[in-house]
Point group: C2
Chain length 556, copies 2
């Protein structure tokens, strides 16, 4: 299993505080060749270093076997801290049961780690004690992939990462049981991150396909991924994904809990859910979507809506409350949930069960009521040093986007916002990666830390590999457009390098620097009229503005 | 040649002031079926009427033969006014020459019309006299396609169209020699319009392919189209396109003028250009891109740029000025140009020869200097009652978009802005329909009247049919997102109808209401588990939020 990018090599930047090396992708460029008065001059172009989510897959020296999983990068860091213990066995009751189907099993077993009694092992806990962990330094170095080479100064230092994590304005997902993941940071003052959703449904895809999609997502630039499986072999599929994922992995544990009670919503209980949390904590899930803010009092507000509840988790909880006549147990048990998450350093991503499912329902009373509850829960989690993300919509017309993110930041005390799109119109099924990239770019610009991709199949079916690619690239575009608008240090280097390559007719470099070099090369191959040509079919040889400009500049 | 849309029929709304009928597309919907306590109830859903750019092609009663061209809708209106005369022959010197290649010729000849001596026949001229033309009423009715059915009041009346055209804030392209075009209006207070570019280059596509692309663009919702041909048979290809185009057609006359002098830029002269204008005015081009604001004084500003000049027309003019050592003849002759355009009611689209070609060059001194010149030229054209559009960028990062459009509106006295994108990042060749839809939605929201599409092949090659479709749909999304954000009367009706269909599991209606019903149906067919199913593969039957919501609502 290997990922390669054109004209690129994997480089590693060493830490200064810790013995770490941070992987990046370095793209080498051709010289700029110019001819003036018959004399050819060559000017070298500095290589461009870009943020790299592909982990060991793109290191030609690494030998990755998905049956063994990725190297356990963070294991020595965790061990060195000495505040976690390795358990003799898995704590979840379903441990025996899940090993029944040998064929689907991941071949190796890694016994889980957990905080020693009385110790706090969350990144937030360390940050609040003033400790800069290797994870924090790693994340800081990653954010500044351009700056060192350029001599640009950046506000993003390891100390800054620590301070943002301590304040709750950033999340560094780092379950001790997912040591394969490369540390990264999610917060409004950092590069905008994107999440991809994968996972099988009852009607669809198998384990290998999901692992392949996970690696595929990392190839194109996905920063985190959520396994939303609701089909068969949930546990084993997740094991394969986590062991092979160089990026943090999130889940929605209520899906698996519901499967454990055979899909009978009223049969869901705290005990089943609790055991599922422990199972997933010990497996290495880095963050859980938990719909703890959806309360009984909010249900009447849903009646006024055009599209009701469109969150799967939200609808399960709403159904449970309606059928049982009880308050949401994720809310009433939230402190206990945090106590569990704290022992593994799993972040909570507070789900927006009432996110709007249409333009009409955007920023409505139901959404805002839940948001207020999420703000209260944020405080509860932070008291226990549990890291918090806040999930957001959904469907929001452009004029309501800024208010939406500003309201979130206010209600939730600056906890990082993590939105699904939002879609800016409902009328384009089949193109919702675009309707939502328009919204995602804007909501990210105004302070959303991570945007969850939407694929072209949204509302219509489960995405396949090509849909994942289309969704990831659309969201990399949205995130990068927001980074530029926010003035992230060094973000424009890649744009400038690509534009210069374009103006120089360095086609190879233009393609290497592209977010999707393969697609660009494919389109260029159709259009080109010679590999070294200084024009393309778009304008043809006589109407190429860049060619004419050069001639005009030279004739001056 | 026929265009069909699912569950749709062509309807016509009659004028009140004039004997006109305005074509629209009416989408009929299924009933909402609900079951409560075992009793089934059906509630009808009102049909949704949408803006229709497909002209007679979607009228099953119309018999369209592209060898005959479309019905000449506006011919009687022009005749009735009595202020234009039919010429005995074409006025352009190249008239004999262009008929040489019989094979490529359009079979019919319509002799051209032109204003009688001393009469002003532009829509702006009429508007300033207080006249509401049939064109104005037609455009007003089109803009309110939803409102009449809904009983929603709209500010867009025929009087309002007249006032906006009189003030120069809106353009109603209506060459008397393109009577096939259905009147429409371009202005910030109207629905956002989209333009598609088609046309052959020396390396590419033929006449039939371009006509097919033109109709294809109208099918997906293109409001105007520009024929940017630079290849062979420019005149004849344009004739086929105009005679078969139900939407206004624009060109960049300098392309053809340059061909007439065999591509030798220094050989371009006012005489050749002037004759080309007359030729195209008499053929029926509705608006010309003219790069009259790019001056010699601006060229030094280009030297500081990363990507120089990226406008084809701009680079031709820059080359001409550099080689001849003279001021831009489009600037020095601008009054004469306006006098020609006025006699046919051709609008001028003042080209932005210095639009930025990269994020780095956005909103720079070169662009702003040219914009100031465009403002002066706007006044000149308006003095002659010639309608004006102002072209804009290009490549602009998100944080500079609002300033860009506000500066344009200020400099150019509110003349409608017509931008190419803008692209919000340079790093995604192969996906520039998306990088630019993100920018186009925002620039439209802040007051740009028309956005020119960008296809996935931008920077890489000439778009094919599928690229045209991808570009048009991305731009319909951007335009509609902006209409929603601007609160255009009735714009949200289609979103709400589609969302309701989604919540009702009326799959047929969800697809019919989609901007691209064919793509949505294709994706749904892959994903569906039964034609009448109330879920898709995305979530499967047990995890469908909408299904669960309904159950939960019913169990309350």
């Amino acid at each position: 299993m290997h990922i390669s990018y054109p004209s690129s090599q994997k480089i590693y930047v060493a830490g200064k505080l810790h013995d770490i090396r941070v992987g990046m992708r370095q793209i080498s460029l051709l010289d700029t060749v110019s001819v003036e008065n018959g004399v050819q001059t060559r000017e070298p172009n500095a290589p461009v270093v870009v943020y790299d989510t592909s982990g060991p897959y793109s290191d030609s020296n690494a030998d990755v076997d998905i049956r063994k999983g990725l190297p356990r990068l963070r294991e020595p860091w965790v061990e060195r801290r000495g505040d976690a213990e390795r358990l003799p066995s898995f704590s979840s009751a379903c441990d025996g049961e899940r090993r029944a189907d040998a064929a689907a099993q991941f071949p190796l077993v890694h016994l889980p780690r957990r905080a020693k009694e009385g110790r706090c092992i969350t990144q937030m806990g360390y940050a609040r004690q003033g400790i800069i962990t290797p994870e924090m330094e790693y994340a800081a170095i990653r954010e500044n992939q351009q700056c060192e080479a350029l001599g640009v100064s950046s506000h993003i230092t390891p100390e800054f990462v620590r301070d943002e994590v301590a304040a709750g304005r950033a999340v560094l997902p780092a379950n001790v049981n997912h040591p394969e993941a490369e540390p990264m940071v999610i917060g409004a003052r950092f590069l905008v991150k994107i999440n991809t959703n994968i996972g099988s449904s009852a009607l669809s895809s198998g384990v290998e396909e999901e692992v392949e999609k996970a690696i595929w997502s990392c190839k194109w630039g996905g920063d985190t991924l959520m396994d939303l499986s609701t089909g068969e072999h949930i546990h084993d599929a997740r094991e394969w994904i986590i062991r092979n994922s160089p990026v943090p992995v999130g889940t929605v544990p209520i899906y698996q809990a519901l499967k454990k009670v055979n899909g009978e919503i009223a049969a869901l209980s705290w005990e089943v859910y609790r055991d599922t949390l422990v199972e997933q904590c010990e497996q290495g899930v880095d963050y859980f979507t938990i719909h703890a803010g959806l309360l009984r009092a909010h249900l009447p507000l849903v009646q006024r809506r055009l599209t009701g509840i469109v969150s799967r988790g939200g609808s399960i909880i709403a159904g449970w409350m309606a059928q049982r006549g009880e308050e949401n147990f994720l809310y009433t048990r939230f402190e206990e949930i945090c106590d569990i998450l704290q022992r593994y350093d799993v972040a909570v991503s507070l789900g927006d069960g009432l996110r709007p499912g249409s333009i009409r329902d955007a920023n409505d009373a139901a959404q805002l009521a839940e948001l207020a509850a999420l703000g209260r829960l944020t405080r509860t989690a932070w008291q226990r040093h549990v890291q918090v993300l806040i999930e957001g919509p959904g469907h929001v017309p452009m004029h309501k986007i800024r208010a939406n993110v500003e309201e979130q930041l206010r209600c939730c005390h600056g906890a990082p916002f993590y939105t699904l799109g939002p879609l800016t119109t409902d009328i384009a099924p089949g193109y919702d990666h675009i309707t939502s990239a328009i919204g995602a770019a804007q909501i990210a610009r105004y302070g959303t830390a991570m945007i969850c991709y939407v694929t072209p199949k949204e509302h219509l079916g489960l995405p396949d590999r090509e849909d994942v690619r289309a969704g990831v690239i659309a969201y990399k575009i949205a995130a990068h457009a927001a980074d530029l608008a926010k003035g992230h240090p060094g973000a424009q280097v890649r744009d400038d390098a690509l534009s210069k390559a374009r103006f120089d007719f360095r086609w190879r470099d233009q393609l290497s620097l592209a977010l999707d070099p393969e697609k660009a090369a494919e389109y260029h191959a159709i259009g080109k009229s010679g590999s070294e040509s200084d024009h393309c079919t778009m304008c043809g040889p006589n109407f190429c503005a860049m060619k004419l400009t050069k001639e005009c500049v030279h004739s001056e």
